[in-house]
């Protein structure tokens, strides 16, 4: 097993899942956001979003506060300090992994490098 494989294995899978990654990216930019905003921006269904948020809450990455605004329930989500650290760590790991991959492909054909750069741009 190569060093690159080890890096890949150590990536936080809870954050790596695309829907949760998008949720965490949004929450990382803001202080807090409600369920409606997250649902509108991610395009997930209520059930799906709720399931992902529950997983992130169980991991201690997201804090969920359920309040009322008048008679309408309001679910406000925010990234915890632990969640911010995990997200930052994930982004660094992913960036390093892509750089390593690019470096390896650099010795190969130029087409591979371009593809790798594209992949890196999409995720970093």
């Amino acid at each position: 097993m190569s060093a690159e494989d080890y890096n890949l294995l150590s990536i936080d899978r809870l954050v790596h899942e695309p829907a949760r990654l998008i949720i965490m990216t949004m929450l990382n930019v803001v202080d807090s956001a409600d369920f409606l905003f997250l649902q509108r921006e991610t395009g997930l269904t209520k059930g799906n979003l709720s399931a992902h948020l529950t997983k992130l809450e169980e991991a201690g990455y997201v804090a969920i506060e359920k309040t009322y605004k008048g008679k309408i329930p309001l679910t406000v989500c925010r990234l915890t300090e632990e969640g911010r650290k995990a997200y930052k760590h994930y982004r660094t790991q992913w960036h390093d992994l892509m750089s390593l991959k690019q470096g390896r492909r650099g010795s190969g054909s130029a087409g591979c490098v371009n593809k790798s750069k594209r992949e890196n741009r999409e995720f970093s």
Partner: protein, 211 residues
């Protein structure tokens, strides 16, 4: 589903400007300030009246800025959050801090030079207007870079053009600044109201309860 994380970040930042309410509030404030400044320029040169005018100008700036912030929050609570969801932004820090400080420092320097020029009238008439328009154009250009919203690029170009026109019109410093502030206010109100109309049409109020 979007997979480009930079895009996700930008969209989240853009959300604050998506409804145009901020522009309308800032535009209204600028327009009021412009009218006051223009009126102030018409006051005869008696020291007491001038001093009273400066105090009034400062009061208008501070009170309107405070009310504009509150009005934005109230309008967003009434129109934006029920349609597209609630978001509270945190203050940027960490890696962005040096860049923010350099921008804010640069803008503060320009503003100070402008105020100094207005007080001493040592820059000549045209520099006060040119300085203000450059300052505002730079602010909107920076906002456009941050949010990646095309209308802010258009606004920054418009403000630069308006500044050049007002400067070349030969108006006196304060009258010119007043006219420029009115133009800025009108442009922002127009841009904000168009954006707001589009936002309301695109996002009807959701009757269903949240999860």
């Amino acid at each position: 589903m979007v997979t480009d994380l930079k895009k996700v970040e930008h969209r989240t930042i853009q959300y604050w400007f998506e409804d145009g309410i901020w522009e309308m509030a800032f535009g209204g404030w600028s327009f009021l300030l412009g009218i006051f400044t223009f009126g102030f320029a018409l006051i005869p040169g008696k020291p007491f009246l001038r001093a009273l005018g400066w105090v009034g100008l400062l009061a208008v700036i501070i009170i309107c800025a405070r009310f504009a912030g509150r009005a934005v929050r109230l309008l967003k609570e009434k129109w934006t959050y029920p349609r597209a969801g609630f978001v509270s932004y945190r203050r940027p820090g960490g890696q962005n801090r040096p860049r923010r400080f350099s921008w804010v420092g640069g803008l503060a320097g320009l503003a100070s030079a402008l105020v100094y020029g207005l007080l001493r009238d040592s820059f000549g008439y045209m520099w006060a207007q040119a300085g203000l328009s450059l300052l505002m154009a730079l602010t909107f250009f920076y906002t456009a870079i941050r949010t990646k919203l095309t209308r802010f690029y258009v606004l920054s170009v418009f403000l630069l053009a308006a500044g050049i026109l007002v400067t070349r019109s030969g108006l006196k410093a304060l009258s010119g600044v007043g006219v420029f502030c009115c133009l800025l206010g009108l442009a922002l109100c127009a841009s904000g109201s168009i954006t707001f109309r589009q936002f309301v049409r695109k996002n009807p109020v959701l009757e269903k309860e949240q999860s």
